[in-house]
Amino acid sequence: MKGPAVNHAFGSAPSGIMEPPRVVLPDHQLFARRAARLRTLSENTPGLGEFLAFIASVVQAQQQVLETREPAWVPAAGAFDAALEHGMPPLGAQALRRDIDWQQDLAALLDALELQAGERQRPLLASVRGLSVQALDDLAEQVLDADPGDSGSRGQMPLVAAALQVAWVRLTRALPRPPERPTGDVYALCPCCGSQPVASIVHVAPERNGVRYLHCAICATEWHLERVTCTICHKGGQLHYLGLEDGDQSAFVARAEACDHCHGYLKIVPREFDAEADPLADDLASLALDLMLDEAGQYTRSGYNPFLIAGA
């Protein structure tokens, strides 16, 4: 927004044309806000309270690790200039996976979680601690590849994903500027790390009011995609916004943006209905919507939430 806001007795008026940023990197308080949102959701989401409360403590631990741990490897100044200049994702997740000491982030995360976890989750934390470097690396590859893996290790994957998220959110701070918005066939892949979006979000903020962004499942970068456009096949015109109602009330903030061209959907989180809503948290809390849509069978889910990986 150009020019100063015009203030009057009832508030302030926009003074110019809205120019929303095309790509927004995550800020320092991302995990703290997300944890607060998850705690709120855990209190008012039937059937998922305990699960969301545990994920909230994982996300709170992410914030703690992000704030306190110094990584062993810090990218050199100018390391990402070439990628930024040529429109390549500078933090390509699969490419950087072996360079980054995310496994130390995982250890710190488990330490921070130790006091929070309930009796039922302690064996899980212990089992992750017991994994070899190679086994962890294999799990990281599956997480970054959105591969559901096998059921024996599936419970460990969200914790591995949590550590990867910390490592990549930290890395985004090393970028001198946000990358350009992706175009062409990759318009729905993260311009920072190349991962899939978890959901899309419609913001309420003066500089991007009503503007829709896709939210990266790994590094939390947000990039602009026009409203009423399918995130899977890029077509418009046949999009439906499906939600769940509890009586006359809307049950969740998240809706499914479903397309009649490709018969897929990605959740969309309009902050208009709740300014605290978070794409990853609200996607988890609206699991019932996925279950209803799966039962109806008309649309298939897209959107990767590494905190809830379903079996094949």
Partner: protein, 197 residues
Amino acid sequence: MSVRVSRRNFLKLGAAGLGASSMAMMGFAPDQALASVRHFKLSGATMTRNVCTYCSVGCGMLLYARGDGGANVIDNIYHVEGDPDHPVSRGSLCPRGAGVLDFIHSPSRVKYPEVREPNTNEWKRISWDEAFDRIARHMKDDRDRNFQTHDDQGRLVNRWMTTSMVAASACTNETAYLTQKITRALGILTLDNQARV
């Protein structure tokens, strides 16, 4: 450009997969989550891009309609907001544009041709064909009566001064071109385009 939609885009999340999901493997039984679904009812809305018809600025709008976009969709429009992606208006609407919902649902909105015959105060609904016939008849009669081939000094003018045309504010370039062609061919000189409101 064709967009390839691969199976990788789709990540199934249903009741069948929940038992072996990471949630279950982390020690959270999915039974309650599965049972909670029964409380809810699925509801849908359709969103459509449109351009405001009020004035020549042509602001972008998003229209929300209940249901699946089938018949009677106009009756179901329940919300209108500025399209933040529109290059002209970028999400802004003026007070009239923002209030367009009442215009859409207005009981006095004209949806079909009507005529009020001389010496009556009643509006009578007519078909589009009847409306075109009547307009053409009126134009032809008026043109036959008043067409001027020469002015009072004997110069050739070929003009029709007793009828004028006002074109709408939301005309496209193509509509404006056709408006010019038709009116000028008939000899109409008084033509205006209401490009400001």
